[in-house]
């Protein structure tokens, strides 16, 4: 079994001709001006693979201009797997991502420095001193390994949270660049049996991380069949540049055949054109370049088309996730990925708001709903992200889980079987012959089968907004559940063989 997510009839924003236009524009961009590449190995790989590569002696270091013909891109697209499995400690939680099937799974994302706690405090009215009301107050804490483990535990128990893409940056005093990778992967893997994805901080730690994942999966072969981890690499610096460090990491991950997301996150209006066709063609060209690199390095290496186009906030050129363009750009990219048959890692559910509330709900629901309907195979950013992906709020993640549950209900396909019409006629005739004229009797079997959407999970009872309090109660319930840790003997093996793990993580 695998996690099923929700299969949708995909919403199409751009038509076939527009898809073809964007593809052609992407190819033209790759031909001229091409890609500026700061990684020597990648330049050599592309040169060997058929690209026109020109060396430029920079002020400090050389760099290369890659002019990549369409054939190189299309051959690579042809070689890339159309179905990618993301494994899990509990194999029932694995994800089978089929680039042609618009089945959506929901994941967290970003790597926030901040962790937002919600507390409930009582306030007394100035006008009416006997009137006391509860109100949420917010407290920002620093992300660390304990909080990452808590987020993974939360992921384990929230129904719609299909995959754990580490949402929190670990900033413990004992964490440095050399031990960050093993600790972030272990803290995550030890608290959720769902798929774990993260970026790689140090290339030198890649084999330690993979070895750890192999131990947890049950060996090298089992890890190959059930890759319990995958990587995300931001090898692209928009516009149209391949960064040295992350490009090298991408090459090494691809060589090892571990699933990797080729992510590109240009910003419309600053690092990409504000025009929809322009930013989509650019992000498409950037991602296809990364995918081509992986296939030239290791034909058939599992990759995801990672589209994260955003729009600049015109007041400060910061990211702006709550605007409609964010959804528009991302929907187009989902369609481009489907055009190539590549599993799509997309983005939805972020807010620019600093805290949970009306702005947060409105902004995140725009992209949650629209991107779900677009049908990407893997939607990241979907849980708990606040303040333009800089803050993770666990209470918001609980709310997001409920909201995604509702969206999955919304996206369900209509059911019209051979028996539907006769059943409707029979019900209506019976009801019209009754004195009460009520259809309630016929609701019952659907209700038992879970086909009737429940009311809002955190509904307020009185004239006060209690949503956050109720979500906080639900969060506390989940946090009190026992953790689903890795078996002790495997943990012992991991600690014996993998250097740099913090001892405190052994039991947390």
């Amino acid at each position: 079994m695998a996690r099923q997510g929700i299969l949708v009839e995909p919403y199409r924003r751009i038509n076939d001709e527009q898809i073809a236009q964007i593809h052609r524009l992407s190819m033209e961009l790759l031909a001229d001006p091409g890609i500026i590449c700061f990684n020597r190995d990648a330049a050599e790989v592309f040169a060997d693979g058929g690209a026109e590569v020109t060396t430029v002696e920079g002020e400090r270091l050389p760099y290369w201009i890659l002019k990549i013909p369409e054939k190189v891109i299309l051959d690579a697209v042809g070689m890339a797997p159309k179905v990618v499995k993301l494994g899990a400690r509990n194999e029932d939680n694995c994800l089978i991502l089929d680039g042609h099937e618009p089945r959506v799974r929901f994941a967290s994302g970003s790597e926030t420095n901040n962790w937002l706690e919600v507390d409930v405090e009582a306030f007394i009215s100035k006008n009416d001193p006997v009137r006391e009301v509860n109100f949420p107050v917010f407290r920002v804490e620093k992300g660390n390994t304990d909080r990452l483990a808590t987020a993974a535990h939360l992921c384990e128990h929230l129904d719609s949270w299909d995959s754990f893409l580490r949402p929190v940056n670990i900033q413990d005093d004992a964490i440095n660049d050399d031990n960050k990778d093993v600790n972030k992967f272990f803290a995550s893997l030890n608290n959720t049996t769902k798929h774990v994805m993260a970026g790689l901080t140090q290339l030198s730690q890649l084999d330690n991380v993979i070895r750890m994942a192999q131990l947890i999966a049950g060996g090298e072969d089992k890890f190959r069949d059930n890759p319990v981890i995958s990587f995300i690499t931001s090898l692209i610096k928009s516009p149209l540049q391949l960064v040295d460090d992350t490009t090298q990491k991408t090459i090494e991950i691809a060589k090892r055949g571990v699933p990797v997301v080729i992510s590109s996150a240009p910003q419309g209006g600053s690092t990409a054109p504000i025009l929809e066709a322009g930013i989509v063609a650019q992000v498409n060209a950037e991602i296809l370049t990364g995918i081509a690199l992986t296939q030239l390095v290791n034909q058939g290496a599992p990759v995801l088309y990672g589209s994260v186009p955003g729009r600049a906030n015109m007041e400060d050129l910061n990211d702006s996730y709550g605007v409609p363009e964010f959804s528009q750009y991302n929907i187009d990219c989902v369609q481009m990925a489907r055009h190539y048959g590549l599993p799509c890692y997309s983005s939805g559910g972020v807010s620019d708001a600093k805290m949970p509330g009306i702005q947060s709900s409105v902004e995140r629901l725009l992209s949650h709903i629209l991107l779900t309907l677009a049908g990407p195979q893997y939607m990241h950013y979907a849980f708990g992200l606040m303040e333009r992906t800089t803050t993770f709020c666990p209470v918001q993640a609980v709310l997001d889980d409920a909201h995604i549950g509702m969206i999955k209900g919304l996206a369900k396909q209509p059911v019209f079987t051979d028996s539907t019409i006769p059943e409707v006629l029979e019900q209506t005739r019976q009801v019209m012959n009754s004195s009460t004229k009520l259809f309630t009797r016929f609701v019952r079997s659907a209700l038992r089968a879970g086909e009737i959407a429940p009311p809002y999970q955190f509904e307020s009872r009185d004239m006060a907004d209690e949503t956050l309090f109720r979500a906080q109660e639900r969060l506390n319930e989940i946090l009190s559940l026992p953790p689903n840790h890795i078996e002790k003997e495997i943990v012992e093996k991991v600690f014996q063989q993998i250097p740099g793990l913090l001892k405190k993580l052994k039991n947390s």
Binding site: S435, T436, K437, L438, T440, R441, V443, R444, L447, R448
Partner: protein, 232 residues
Amino acid sequence: MTQSLIDSIRDNVIQGRVTKDDEGMEEGMAGKPAVTELVEESLAKKISVQAIISEGLTSGMSTVGEKFEAGEYFIPDMLASAEAVGAAMEMLDPYLAQSGIKPKGKILIATVKGDLHDIGKNIVSILLRGAGYTVKDLGNDIDPQTIIDAVKEENPQFLGLSALLTSTMAHMEDTIRALADNGLRDKVKVIIGGAPVSEEFAQRIGADGYGADGFQAVAVVESFNTTQVVIK
């Protein structure tokens, strides 16, 4: 055999099955005798009406109430069970007097003049029947004079008035005034309900009670009911 039949009546009340065609809560129930068929068989076998009511219908309804309170049952389940009890009570009605059973009470119910909305009224009717009351439903868009005539003819202990519209709720007050003008105000307890009305409105127009929903409506009726209760 007697006990088995009564147990089956109770179980089918819990399942919310009125007739054999109903599905109930579990798979494979359709086609098997339900409350109305079982009550008919019980009457044919001269099983005590008292036993049918108290050990079958009321006992089953009590379990349904517990399941509803526990969140295991939903409103449609509660209504289905109440409907089954209501149908059974209608069948048993001719036998109550000869069995020495005093009816629990009679309720006249109507949606007031100008208002065609009757879902709430119908739900209240089902729940009241399920609680063992005799309900005379006058329908919707009922003017005060028709209600006055019915009160005179039926002599109910309770009158339930329903309205959904802010433009029609005023007719509740007209109806209560008409009851007074006809010397009937002390003969009947008036309970009102509907989306736009409130406890405060009920007090203002001189109603005796207000039900925010169907369950509260039944509770209000029960709180006024001084008639000897036979269904416990």
